[in-house]
């Protein structure tokens, strides 16, 4: 579904992506993990051509998104829904209008129907009451969820999530995990999720890739990922109390 071929990218004078190869299959929930500044957001942005590789290519299905322009690019982008790291809501319209915006702009649906759909999606992310609130009145976690509702309202084939659960309490985080998982199981949506939250990744990922210094250093199913011999992966796992010996045993030993 999405394929990276030896993608290189320099930003601000330093190498951010250093030959990334990835292949994401249709219907996957593909997780990308890695330290802050590892290039996760940059990787996501290449999938919708908010960034263009210096070398290498990114494919979406049979289309090369890295060279697409004009109408073709628009067509590729319309297959995506994107949740940005900072939610990227427009601050002069209400939360509900933000959610409905893609439909208002892209379709001829009447406005009352758009409102109904927007309310549905807000309810799905646990914000049924927030339709008329302005983004500035919402907490960071709530804005995130509004952004998520906006990303899925057009029923896209592929959804990109940049840290969907950061800044959310654990209970809401698990609810968002379940939502992402149900999109895959019920609608066959392909998801690419960037996160620091390994618990989410291990719970719902079909595969996990770890980025470090612009390279994919580990890639596999959650089971394979945990067993990866890579030092960075093990550090990352241990930092969240996930070890081969088991979390509780480790905690008890402290």
């Amino acid at each position: 579904m999405i394929r990276f071929e030896k993608v290189h990218k320099r930003l601000g004078g330093r190498v951010v992506l250093d030959g990334v190869d990835l292949q994401i299959e249709p219907g996957e929930t593909f997780f990308i993990v890695g330290a802050s500044g590892a290039g996760k957001s940059v990787t996501l942005k290449h999938m919708v051509r908010l960034l263009t590789p210096d070398a290498g290519r990114v494919w979406v299905g049979d289309d090369c998104v890295s060279t697409a322009r004009g109408h073709k690019l628009e067509q590729i982008r319309s297959r995506f829904g994107v949740l940005f790291q900072g939610a990227a809501l427009l601050n002069w319209i209400s939360a509900g209008e933000n959610v409905g915006l893609p439909l208002l702009e892209r379709t001829n649906k009447p406005e009352h129907e758009i409102e109904k759909l927007a309310r549905e999606k807000l309810a799905l992310v646990g914000l049924a009451e927030a339709y008329d609130k302005m983004p500035a009145e919402l907490s960071g976690g709530m804005r995130k969820r509004v952004g998520l509702a906006r990303a899925i309202i057009t029923a896209p084939e592929i959804v990109l999530y940049d840290e969907p659960t950061s800044g959310l309490d654990p209970v809401t985080s698990r609810a968002i995990d379940q939502l992402i998982d149900s999109l895959r199981r019920e609608l066959g949506i392909t998801s690419v999720v960037v996160t620091h939250d390994l618990h989410s990744a291990l719970a719902i990922a079909t595969r996990i890739a770890m980025l470090d210094e612009g390279r994919v250093v580990a890639l596999g199913t959650p089971e394979q990922f945990i067993k990866s011999p890579n030092e960075k992966v093990q550090q990352f796992l241990e930092s969240q109390y996930i070890t081969k010996r088991g979390a509780w045993e480790k905690a008890a030993a402290l």
Partner: protein, 258 residues
Amino acid sequence: MNAWARVGREVLLALRNTGRALVMLGEAIVNIRHVFSRQNRYETIHQMFVSGIKSLGVITVVALFTGMILALQTGLELRRFGQEVNIGTAVTVVLLREMGPFMTGLIIAASVGSAIAAQMGTMVVAEEIAALEIMSINPVRFLVMPRLVALALIMPFLTMYTNAVGILGGAIVGYTQLGVSFTAYFDNCTRFAENKDLFVGLFKAIIFGVIVVTVACHQGFATTEGAVGVGRSTRRTVIIAFLTILTMGYFITRMFYK
């Protein structure tokens, strides 16, 4: 890099930016056909309100004192020839032709222009522009066009208001400082000023509005490097818009008055 190379580089960069700004302006003009679509109609009216009504306070003060200064300066000179009754003409013609649109343009550049640049810049930094692009919403149609239409429509009215308040200021100075009665003043105002003076001034006002929106949106969209970048875009907007208004004002004057 030696000094000449640097100057050359700056000139080329300025040319490139001007080109890009003009391309954006062209795109915004093409998109005016969408102004009544359901996505845009409220936005245009809202922008007219924001840019028009909210600047009225400053404009009133500036216009009043501009008219008063004009009346005082010309009045003191004219009085030496016993001609102080003609301040009406002097104030009116200078305001209609030049100072009215010019002062209004500068105020709008400093207030509305900087606000637009800051808003666009913040939207770039917060990835809102990127989000619009992903949703296949053309930022030029969605953000630039309504502001362009709003300012192009509202600038002539603001300028007429500036003119009116300025002329009133002249009348006050004429009456209190120079002993020119209100009837003599207003009679004198309308005697020599031509319709052409008014219309050229209003034409200027529209062009100045277009300049402010174009510069502000272009600079805002070109913002990089977070909050610092937003500050830089805002400052540049005000400077570039000032200079462009000044030079374009001269050329428009030359075009109509030879």
